[in-house]
Symmetry: none
Subunit: 217 residues, 4 copies
Amino acid sequence: MPATAVKRRSSRAARPRWHRRKDARPDEILAAALEVFSDRGFAATKLEDIARRAGVTKGTIYLYFANKEALFKALIRETIVQVIAQGEALAQSFTGSARDLLERLVREYWRLVGETSLVGIPKLMMAEAGNFPELARFYYEEVVTRGHRLMAGVIQRGIKAGEFRPVNVMVAAKLAMSPLMHAVVARKAFSACMPEGFNVANYLDTHIDLYLHGISK
Amino acid sequence: MPATAVKRRSSRAARPRWHRRKDARPDEILAAALEVFSDRGFAATKLEDIARRAGVTKGTIYLYFANKEALFKALIRETIVQVIAQGEALAQSFTGSARDLLERLVREYWRLVGETSLVGIPKLMMAEAGNFPELARFYYEEVVTRGHRLMAGVIQRGIKAGEFRPVNVMVAAKLAMSPLMHAVVARKAFSACMPEGFNVANYLDTHIDLYLHGISK
Amino acid sequence: MPATAVKRRSSRAARPRWHRRKDARPDEILAAALEVFSDRGFAATKLEDIARRAGVTKGTIYLYFANKEALFKALIRETIVQVIAQGEALAQSFTGSARDLLERLVREYWRLVGETSLVGIPKLMMAEAGNFPELARFYYEEVVTRGHRLMAGVIQRGIKAGEFRPVNVMVAAKLAMSPLMHAVVARKAFSACMPEGFNVANYLDTHIDLYLHGISK
Amino acid sequence: MPATAVKRRSSRAARPRWHRRKDARPDEILAAALEVFSDRGFAATKLEDIARRAGVTKGTIYLYFANKEALFKALIRETIVQVIAQGEALAQSFTGSARDLLERLVREYWRLVGETSLVGIPKLMMAEAGNFPELARFYYEEVVTRGHRLMAGVIQRGIKAGEFRPVNVMVAAKLAMSPLMHAVVARKAFSACMPEGFNVANYLDTHIDLYLHGISK
DNA sequence: TATGAATGAGGATTCATTCAT
DNA sequence: TATGAATGAATCCTCATTCAT
């Protein structure tokens, strides 16, 4: 799934390699666009760079996307929403304690976003929200708010079950996610500046530990 | 202090088109630049817009800054570092408990950054780190790392004093700050999408509550 | 040959706005550049003018030349050197008297430079030497000095053969060329001021006559 | 006289040095303009550079000259014409042979132009003729043609006196001057490229020798 | 479908010129 | 008279977009 988030058609392997599946092109372009856009931002990205990385020429991009903006929007719209959907499905089918579900969701988010090509999306969206208001609204509603609601439901469940202290669930939900969001964004931005790298396991473990400790009765 | 960090000129009301303002101009331009850059990002910002907002014309900017990039770098370098310095001073002179100091620092950060024109800086830096590697390094070392070290010291103090559980202090420091960082960045990005606004007080209170609860013995 | 030095395209009459012309374009642009640069000088020339004269738009120039300066340098480097080479070849294969060779070289220079699009180069180089020191050095060595050496060799030959009086050959060489150089430069500059035109034949004949008279035993 | 061509008021020495004679300013500016214009050409010189070299600020130039173009034209119009006048005076009062007068004029030209700040004028005029047609016409008539006529008169005198062979006097006049003109122009352009320097004495001697040898009966 | 030459609007930058002091 | 801050028109250059092949 993460592999398909911005995916490369696996079926390509099974075909004669000199014959590119034509329906693979858009995804290859989206994958390239994600990398470049999230590295440089929308305005600083040249279609030429995306094309080169996708192994095509500039003109080809226009066969699949109306223009640079459409490409950018397609990128945002077609990617991260599904992660939320997965989270929601997980929450719905989960039968254990709220603590366990919360931990599970935190770790799952990292697995699906922090460790896939999707890492770039949140930073990109933060950076470009001002330039694409409608897109920002879409993202805010379909990703941010929906994510918060999902987490809020879990906390609500925990409070009802007597696992958690009574707290403002929406705010507590944001606080459960914000260290993740920040880590995703900052790691993308400053990876080149962190010689030691970023010890993710440690960070996640400690967050879960502190947070659950903090919210438990 | 925050008011002067990147200050907004006052009282230029009914003057002829231009006066000798050599001393005030750079700061006026920096203030305008901060607003536009942090709204739109570096590449999408037109110097013309900065100029207009500063009440001058394009050419004037070049009297004080070599070019767009120099203006951007000056903006980053001359602003937020001082906030950290203030935090450090506060920590050094503080005589109360680690709990209280931690809370104080969290609230102070918000007061000095979240509620001044500096809000835009972190988002801007995140967005542009990839395009300005040396600047990113500077920021990472002089702001991010220094901020984390400051907070780590506080936590260390709390552990020694028996207030806090033994934890990895550097990681815990990051976790104390990350909800703030994320809030600053996300609020800048999505303010237009949050009709209810963002209830800061609630957010800060809950963070402090959960965090201190989580880290206390 | 002179016709191809910086050639003028032919037959582009009734075509759609643009065709694949990748091969021809650079030369067409260079030809246009030579005309405009040598009329106006480097700084006063607008790329737009060159483009218009070449039948393309500004942007096209940048497909073939990195910038205005690169275009200018290519122009100088790729043109007049070959004239010298031709003179050298002529001198080497020539079997007649030194007098005849000298006369032949003088007339040939005029035919290859004075009467082709290359006329503009010497004036242009004189005018811009101060702004392009490395280019000036290149030109001075590959064109000026080499030309003088060529002529000096001829004079040396004449002295050895007893045709010419013993003179400082390098200085005499410069003096054989300088009326040509000056005529090329001045005619380019003042053509609009000479209603009668410039009687080249007369000028060349008289120069050859006086010079050979002057240097002969 | 050459010292006054583009002159510095000598009287300045006699005044308190802190008090600039106001009427010295225009000449100081002209002197600075000559240097910069003849180094870089009209379009490539910045008024700022002229101002700096003249020890004033840009604004001051506008107190004495309407604009950049007026400054340039004043420079050309007020300088070299007088050299011709001097030559004419010399010719008129000269009582010796035509040979001697011709030699005298050649050497005098070098002394008055080649070795004073006026060297730059011919190169400058050649370079800019295309951009300033009326100025070119003025220069061509008042300097070039007048100079040629002067020299033609001398040659005519020599022919009449039986010193010189019968030749086309106007063409012969041009040929007497062109090595000088070329030397002035080329030396200005390529001085930085001639490590040995340019042996003027040798060049002039040889020219006079060859030319008089060539034209004599 | 894919290419890539060509376009041209847009924006950074320069610098001659103005004008309040 | 002299300054120099400010202006804004002019020009280089970039790059998203088009279109003939």
